[in-house]
């Protein structure tokens, strides 16, 4: 299969403008003849659904929470990038593009990434006009900060609740369209299949989570904005409900899945406190600006934060400062994460589980005073104390890496269309803009860029060549899909085994974290594949559920999602096995420099992996989209 990314010809800076001119338009009076389904109401979904409604399309929007305002995007803390150059510090569209491509370790597409940087400026204008209360300076203009090691201050923020404020902005635009009748919102409704008619995506099958009713919805195009799949690891910073089901079902209907093994591990999360742990909480990366990371030189079992204050300087190993003197504690996310894992693997980890390192503010407090530190990090320190019961002003914090974001996702072309005609993927659900590693504050940017400024144009190009006729939900394709969905749910309910969906999910998470996390090797991955196959088999013969199909049944919802996570997990392993290079967020042990640092291999692996489903329990087939770099020079990262 030849993957056509449809990147327009011509100079980088003119591609998008040219493309917008060349796409077919739908006449304003005809837009009302087209129906669009948007699955998801996060930043990507809400902004797309609202924009489609404003343009005049008939929109149905779906989310599994009780309100569109609760999508996982709400939890983003740090901020959103935009190349406004308001600080006059040398930022530009090209610089943001360059940082994003480089940050992605040259595994993203130039064309898409440049466009992202280009429309980033419009996002901020749009949000301010909606009443998003971004942080401001005393003069009344917008404030910025530098984020995630960027050399310029281009990050806009609203306290530590940027995602919340951006989502509430998009939610308000969506609410306005719901009020006007252009968007019909379906809360607590989960998409369980994509429906194809004559080779085109023409609708979805959903389950009403309150009544259990299985319903069909038909449309001229389907947009998936269903977020990332980080919860395949069970423990992650994602919301509990985040899942891969919508994307996975689309994959099984023919949409290729790209780079599934690209996941981002965030170095500063609150460590696991016990078996009961249900999710992990992110502590802002900004903490590394003043906190010093260390572990004892010799491992001490069960070392508490309090006892750590007694350990003399010469018995401490500030390992990031030691190994990377130039960058010290500010090395990129993947380097910080990997080194934390290394010292813990050496038996030098701290805390009750031995899976934590210290982040110590005592020097900053000595240097700047408690008030200054409090001014910068007060709310984070409070949050830490709230969760752990320990006071970071008195003793060091404990942190450990956790899964945070998934760069992989459904393969899309420049128009954000998947390989299934009429099915689009936007936001974290697609693979497109972050290569093998995402820069801080770029996911919010991408979600809103896709939803407000890209898909409203590109979808018209497709719809303009579609007939107005609607497909009836009585069509055989819908009936078959409904039947399959029902049979699957009945099957899950009938197994009546001995293990709960959560137990399976936890087992899957452990396998993924151990063998397909920060550091991978062929032997481990091969073993993991066997383990997942066995887990899948056990799941389908031993999962235990109660209750019925026709009521609110959260364990049924969970089991249905875990079943998809298991299959995706196996594909992640396949993808990781194929990529015998270290790049972006992951370290492939077979591919390292003499100093033990990550070694990327551009000659062999400068491609987007795109996997094609072949049928239940069949091996998937790998297609490759070569990455072409015309505007940036590929360099190896070095932080020494």
């Amino acid at each position: 299969m030849k993957l056509d990314s449809k990147i327009p010809e011509g100079p980088l800076a003119e591609k998008w403008t040219k493309h917008k001119f060349n796409v077919k338009l739908v006449n304003p009076a005809n837009k009302r003849k087209y129906d669009i389904i948007v699955v998801g109401s996060g930043l990507a979904g809400a902004s797309a659904a609202a924009s489609f409604g404003e343009l005049g399309y008939n929109v149905k929007c779906f989310c599994f929470q009780d309100s569109p305002r609760r999508a996982h995007s709400i939890a983003a803390q740090g901020g959103i990038n935009a190349a406004k150059n308001y600080q006059n510090d040398g930022d530009s569209v090209f610089r943001l593009f360059y940082d994003t491509i480089k940050g992605g370790d040259y595994r993203g597409r130039e064309g898409n990434t440049y466009r992202l940087a280009e429309v980033s400026v419009n996002i901020i204008d749009q949000c301010v006009a909606q009443g998003v209360p971004f942080a401001r300076e005393y003069g009344g203009l917008l404030a910025n900060r530098s984020f995630g090691g960027a050399q310029v201050s281009r990050t806009f923020y609203a306290k530590g609740q940027t995602g919340q404020q951006l989502l509430l902005g998009a939610y308000s635009a969506l609410s306005r369209q719901i009020d006007s009748g252009k968007v019909k919102m379906y809360n607590r409704t989960e998409m369980l299949d994509l429906v194809m008619v004559d080779g085109q995506a023409r609708g979805i099958v959903t389950r009403n989570l309150i009544t259990g009713e299985i319903e069909s919805h038909s449309a001229h195009a389907v947009v998936l904005a269903t977020g990332g799949y980080g919860n395949v690891f069970f423990l992650s910073t994602n919301a509990m409900g985040s899942n891969c089901t919508a994307a996975w079902r689309a994959h099984k209907k023919g949409a290729l899945f790209s780079n599934p093994c690209y996941t981002q591990i965030h170095p500063t999360c609150i460590p696991v406190s016990g078996d009961h742990q249900s999710k992990l909480t992110l502590m802002s990366e900004s903490l590394r600006n003043d906190g010093r990371v260390w572990v004892p030189k010799k491992g001490i079992k069960g070392l508490t934060a309090k006892a750590a204050t007694e350990i003399p300087e010469e018995e401490r190993d500030y390992y990031l400062e030691r190994i990377y003197p130039a960058f010290g504690n500010l090395v990129p996310r993947d380097v910080a994460s990997r080194n934390a894992k290394n010292v813990c693997d050496e038996g030098r980890g701290v805390g009750s589980t031995g899976l934590a390192v210290f982040l110590d503010f005592s020097d900053a407090i000595k240097r700047d005073g408690k008030d200054v530190v409090k001014g910068k990090y007060g709310n984070l320190f409070d949050m830490y104390k709230q969760i752990t019961g320990d006071d970071p002003y008195e003793a060091p914090m404990m942190i450990y890496p956790a899964v945070h974001y998934t760069m992989g996702g459904l393969w899309v072309d420049y128009n954000l269309m998947t390989t299934v005609p009429g099915a689009y993927a936007i936001g974290e659900a697609n693979f497109s803009d972050h290569g093998a590693n995402r820069l801080g504050a770029s996911a919010l940017m991408q979600g809103l860029a896709d939803g407000y400024f890209i898909i409203p144009y590109t979808i018209g190009n497709y719809l303009a060549s579609m007939p107005y006729d609607k497909v009836s939900t009585d069509h055989e394709a819908f009936k078959t899909a409904e039947k399959e969905v029902k049979e699957r749910l009945d099957k899950l309910l009938s197994i009546n085994g001995t293990k709960t969906p959560d137990q399976f999910h936890k087992e899957l998470g452990l396998i993924m974290w151990e063998y397909c996390g920060m550091s991978r090797n062929e032997k481990g991955l091969t073993l993991a594949k066997e383990k997942i196959k066995a887990l899948k088999k056990e799941f389908w013969s031993n999962v235990k559920l109660v209750g019925g199909n026709d009521e609110l049944n959260m364990s049924l919802e969970k089991a249905n999602r875990v079943a998809d996570f298991i299959e995706l997990g196996e594909l992640m392993i396949d993808d990781a096995l194929d990529r015998r290079e270290s790049c972006g967020g992951h370290f492939r042990e077979e591919s390292q420099t003499e100093e033990g640092e990550a070694k990327r291999m551009d000659d062999e692996y400068a491609y987007v992996a795109a996997w094609a489903f072949q049928g239940e329990n069949q091996e998937e087939i790998l297609h490759k989209e070569e990455l072409i770099f015309e505007n940036v020079k590929l360099t190896q990262r070095s932080y020494k």
Binding site: H72, I74, C127, A129, S273
Partner: protein
């Protein structure tokens, strides 16, 4: 720790519902309140009993989904936290804890501790926005906004739509929620154009949903996990009566 839970069980909206008691053993003080429920639910599931249904998603205090009425208080005994941020170290070994859903006419129970809060969405749909389309807006720095105003608008905007204010109020009033949105937009220059109609429409929708009247007891703000201030209610009253006086509809 060993805990005894007295939990409201209700099969569906039609069911009458009632309390059931469950002992939960080996509770770690580091567990969150919801993780303690996870443990209980795993035990129930293993025994073939229906788990206790409750709403939750982010477990970080920001999505507003979790909503438990714990020992007579929405989101439990600690100030300024949501249920998901409450940890078992706030309780003592041997405690008996009563857990109920939000109780309000406008938030009917769906199942166990899950309620239907879509009334809040409908209030926002009645004008809780600025009517602009995507694109064609001025540069973000075109209109400077004094930092103090922006910060105040931000404080009001932090409402997570959880409904604890309604659950805390003896009249089940939604004034705090509505006032937070009205205030945020009324304070910002972008919100001026629709200021009058917004306050009127949102209040009318609030009444239509069956929320009670505000008698200024302040229970809402005291129990609000985001500490939304009562000043917003005063501001809403001003906006509303100001709107009424000048409204073309009167």
């Amino acid at each position: 720790m060993n805990i005894t839970l007295k939990v409201w069980r209700q099969k569906n909206a039609q069911d009458k519902g009632g309390f059931k008691t469950y002992p939960v053993a080996n509770v770690s003080p580091d567990m969150s309140f919801l993780e303690m429920f996870d443990v209980l639910n795993e035990q129930l599931l293993a025994k073939g009993e229906d788990p206790v249904h409750f709403d939750h998603d982010c477990r970080e205090g920001i999505c507003g989904m979790c909503s438990m009425y714990i020992n007579g208080k929405p989101h439990g005994p600690k100030d300024a936290v949501t249920t998901c941020q409450l940890h078992m170290r706030s309780f003592k070994d041997g405690d008996s804890i009563t857990v109920e859903p939000w109780r309000a006419k406008a938030f009917p129970v769906v199942k166990d501790l899950v309620t239907d809060r879509s009334a809040f969405d409908r209030i926002i749909q009645s004008g809780g926005y600025i009517s602009i389309n995507t694109g064609g807006v001025p540069d973000a720095n075109e209109i400077p906004i004094p930092k103090k105003i922006a910060d105040q608008a931000m404080d009001a905007a932090t409402c997570i739509g959880c409904g604890a204010c309604v659950a805390a109020c003896k009249n089940a009033s939604a004034m705090l929620f509505v006032s937070a949105k009205v205030s945020q937009l009324a304070m910002l220059p972008q919100g001026q154009v629709e200021r009058k109609t917004r306050a009127e429409r949102m209040v009318a929708q609030m009444d239509e949903e069956g929320f009670g009247a505000c008698t200024n007891t302040g229970a809402c703000s005291a129990e609000c996990p985001k500490e939304i201030s009562l000043e917003n209610i005063a501001r809403l009253n001003r906006e509303f009566y100001g709107a009424k006086l000048k409204s073309e509809n009167v």
